[in-house]
Point group: C2
Chain length 188, copies 2
DNA sequence: GCATTTCTGGAATGATCAGTCAAGAAAGGA
DNA sequence: TCCTTTCTTGACTGATCATTCCAGAAATGC
């Protein structure tokens, strides 16, 4: 069996993610995709099925990578509170590019069960890691223990989304850092 | 001059708003619009120009109405802190329907200057009213005076957006109320 | 009843869309 | 060198898109 040319599937998917996060699903045409991915149209359909399957895959991959990055920040400091702060500050620094997760929720709400499942899976995994670290920080006396870990996690994630919308609306890094700081104050 | 049939322009615009806030600009077709607005296709083009002009007008009208509603809550209580809480709680109660402002920012970012101008105008007006009430609440000793009124207002608005994304992602009223409560704690 | 105006509804236009097809170029295995 | 496989390219198909055109219905003023 002759293994030949074979474009880089993951690299193409990353290019698709970049287009989708900027223009959304409806705002992206297959022409935009094949151009950005640097592959032929037929290769796109052979490899990914159709536009919706490619989008789902893009959201799934993005969600997994973003969840990994959040968790890496959470666990990247010895002191739990520092990990939590690092997670929020990373969002402030990276918010100049649109978030595919927020965009996807905003564009489709709860109308596509397969998409909802992807979001929920990523959310569950991130929340699990966050609750551990929050609980730890509460035990350290760094976070308010009168809030449940669930409430604290939900609040921080809502603020991540809020910061990203603020950034999409024009807020700069300084303003975003202030938002992160005040959000952390709320749970301290 | 014979004034005749004349459909209700504002009622039609409200119907368009309802479609746009659920499906976004790209996800809405002119057929969906004429059906929802209960007017002929030609009337739509005669009255509103084209799809983009109608969308801009819808966003503008929605932003004005939403800003009015926020300000009414802010000013609806004798005690400033109660007004601020009422604003946040109203968001928690009404978040089952998508917000056209959040959707519009999310879909287009800063790529359409005319849209950006609409958002900024509404934001400026709301922030002006909010800062007054925040300042008052700080003087009452109900809000933390070490935060600037600007920072506090920005934080509350980011949390409004965050709550709306959370709702779009499936969060129920109870969870939203908790988010509002913790957000208020942050600035207290 | 008649004229005027506005709205409706359907048909048409041309663009763009997602997705398919077919021919050939590129590349590695034998 | 030849075969097999994969990728590219461009043309093609319907469908749908926004928008325009047009003929006629509805409603009001006179």
């Amino acid at each position: 069996m002759a293994r030949t040319k074979e474009f880089d599937r993951e690299q193409a998917l990353d290019a698709a993610i970049e287009v989708f996060r900027e223009h959304g699903f409806e705002g992206t045409s297959t022409d935009m995709l094949v151009r950005a991915m640097s592959i032929g149209r037929q290769s796109l359909y052979d490899t990914f099925g159709d536009k919706w399957k490619l989008y789902s895959l893009a959201v799934e991959r993005y969600a997994a990578a973003e969840t990994d990055a959040h968790i890496a920040m959470l666990r990247g400091a010895p002191r739990a509170q520092d990990g939590i702060r690092a997670m929020m500050e990373r969002v402030a620094e990276n918010a100049s590019q649109a978030c595919l997760g927020v965009n996807s929720v905003c564009e489709f709400g709860q109308s596509r069960p397969d998409l909802t499942a992807i979001h929920q899976a990523a959310d569950r995994r991130l929340k699990h890691a966050a609750k551990q670290r929050i609980s730890e920080a509460q035990a350290d006396g760094d976070l308010d223990a009168t809030l449940s870990t669930e409430e604290t996690a939900d609040f921080l994630f809502a603020n991540v989304a809020g910061m990203r919308i603020a950034a999409r609306g024009g807020a700069g890094p300084a303003e975003l850092k202030t938002l992160a700081r005040i959000a952390l104050r709320a749970v301290t």
